[in-house]
């Protein structure tokens, strides 16, 4: 085959991929449009006469005929639940991952290193449904029966039912899910720091911790940001595990409730879509689900863009992304 034809053939494959991606973005937003159009900006707010779960049920039960479709939705509790769970897991996971990565690269004895690296790879590969299973069959009963006292349940029984399905379990399991990805990326980056810098710092008489913190970690900031973005995208899109452990109640956990806050349920966007899988054939419900999908898609697009810019700005000091 001549070079030209080969180039065109391979290029055609690449174009097919690109086309599918553009189609995806366009069609998800197009399908989602009616839900946004009917609610306007209030879609993102809270309020309305009913809870968000009831609103979704109403949409699902809309009478047939395009004129009678119900679209009313105030998605704030869902957005808040998503942001709360995602950001908490991200912050805790990032700290955890950074410390663990430093440990693996610098302080771990050889034998521990040889165990830790396969362990991290294993954790990263475990399917989310298995994390969900352990969460719902082990952690949820534990939290529900042992950590939440009956008094606490009685206190709030008129507002919300506290079973073990809670923000606490969701954040814990999600943190464990996203940490290995970050550890792997940060370890690779730390190992790629030029030895000239670390040796130069050691030769000046700076101790090991300060060397790795002020030189290596500083040098791999782009990688840390990339790891955080990757983990954030994974956390945002986590549907299955969260639908098993987070309680699936469109409730906004209130930090002012004190300790009870940790035990309150929530309903992230992605799990709402999975739970609504049966209802896609009902037109307005399907469109509302697409609206949630559109929010997720746009968020992950913004995340990628932000990470790209952050990496660019750190190039100034000679740190390659």
């Amino acid at each position: 085959m001549s070079d030209q034809r080969a180039e065109r053939l391979l290029g055609a494959f690449a174009c097919v991929v690109l086309l599918m991606i553009m189609l995806m973005v366009v069609s998800v937003i197009a399908k989602a449009w009616p839900s946004f159009a009917h609610n306007g900006l209030a879609w993102f707010g809270s309020g309305g006469a009913k809870t968000v779960d009831a609103q979704l049920a109403d949409i699902f039960n809309s009478p047939s005929g395009a004129k009678n479709y119900v679209y009313e939705l105030r998605a704030w509790p869902l957005l808040y639940g998503t942001a709360l769970i995602t950001l908490s897991s991200l912050v805790i996971g990032l700290v955890f991952a950074l410390l663990a990565a430093i440990f693996i690269v610098e302080f771990a004895p050889k034998r521990l290193q040889r165990i830790l690296e396969p362990a991290v790879r294993l954790l990263a590969a475990v399917p989310s449904v298995i994390y969900g299973l352990i969460g719902v069959l082990v952690l949820v009963p534990f939290v529900g029966n042992s950590l939440i006292s009956t008094e606490r349940k009685q206190d709030v029984i008129y507002v919300v039912q506290l079973s073990g399905n809670s923000v606490l379990v969701a954040v814990t399991v999600l943190t464990v899910m996203i940490t290995p990805i970050m550890v792997a990326l940060i370890v690779v980056a730390l190992r790629a720091v030029p030895p000239a810098w670390t040796e130069g710092s050691a030769a000046l008489g700076v101790n090991r911790w300060r060397t790795i913190w002020t030189i290596s970690v500083r040098a791999v900031r782009p990688a840390i940001i990339a790891a955080a973005v990757l983990a954030c995208a994974r956390a945002l899109g986590e549907a299955i595990m969260l639908s098993m452990v987070s309680g699936s109640l469109g409730f906004s956990p209130n930090p002012l409730d004190g300790l009870t806050f940790l035990f309150e349920p929530a309903r992230p966007l992605a799990s709402t879509i999975v739970e609504g899988a049966e209802g896609f054939s009902v037109a307005p419900f399907g469109q509302t689900m697409y609206a949630f999908g559109a929010v997720l898609l746009v968020s992950s697009l913004f995340l990628s863009l932000g990470a790209h810019h952050a990496k660019q700005s750190l190039r100034r000091y000679g740190l390659t992304p």
């Binding site: 040796e199 710092s201 050691a202 030769a203 000046l204 008489g205 500083r218 100034r316 000091y317």
Partner: protein, 218 residues
């Protein structure tokens, strides 16, 4: 910048006892400002000088392959000692051993004794040793920070309480002046160090290694 008269050259050839060659006194090269300088800095030949480091029968090997074999050497205060030899004969390894930098390589082993001011080097805390015996590398290796941060690095990281920038500025300026870099960078100390030219980077590394008075430097 004051110009010191060149120190006497002590030549150490491996098989012969060391000889000393005195440099001829400088004539008329110095400007009027330095002509009236006291001679206190120039040591008369033969006067007793303090010996700071003693290297006795030092051998260093990487994974069993010897790099330095049974070297004995004395290093005196205030002298400039040059190790000259063919490529690959172990000069850099010997230098790196002086402040225990070879311990960063897992396969390196060392025998023989090394003493700094009569303390066995192994009994000293290694970071303390490295603060007293500093090293500038063959290839310049400025950190990915600004010029100021590079020079102030050791001061910041070794202090008990993190010093503020106004406290560090005089020491940084002093170090840069002694390295001969001050005039070129004084206008913007916050420039990234990696943007300097090769020679400037190496002078920066020298400045970085000496923001305080150090005992020996290689």
């Amino acid at each position: 910048m004051d110009l010191m008269p060149p120190p006497p050259v002590r030549r150490i050839v491996l098989e012969d006892p060391p000889t000393v060659v005195h440099a001829p006194p400088t004539r008329g090269v110095t400007g009027p400002a330095t002509a009236a300088r006291p001679a206190a800095r120039h040591r008369p030949p033969g006067a007793a000088v303090r010996e700071r480091m003693h290297v006795e029968r030092l051998s260093v090997a990487y994974a069993g392959k010897p790099a330095v074999r049974e070297v004995s050497l004395t290093i005196r205060e205030g002298e400039v000692l040059a190790l000259i030899g063919p490529s690959g004969c172990g000069k850099t390894t010997l230098l790196r051993t002086l402040n225990r930098l070879t311990e960063l390589t897992p396969t390196a082993t060392r025998t023989g004794s090394l003493r700094l001011d009569d303390d066995n080097v192994d009994t000293l805390d290694v970071t303390e040793l490295r603060r007293r015996v500093t090293m500038v590398f063959q290839q310049p290796n400025p950190f990915p920070m600004s010029i100021f941060d590079n020079v102030a690095y050791a001061l910041r990281e070794q202090a008990r309480r993190r010093p503020k920038r106004p406290e560090l500025a005089p020491a940084v300026e002093n170090a840069l002046q002694r390295a001969g870099l001050w005039e070129e960078v004084a206008d913007d100390l916050d420039r990234p160090a990696l943007r300097l030219s090769g020679g400037q980077q190496q002078r920066l590394c020298i400045a970085r290694a000496s923001p305080r008075n150090r005992r020996s430097c290689c």
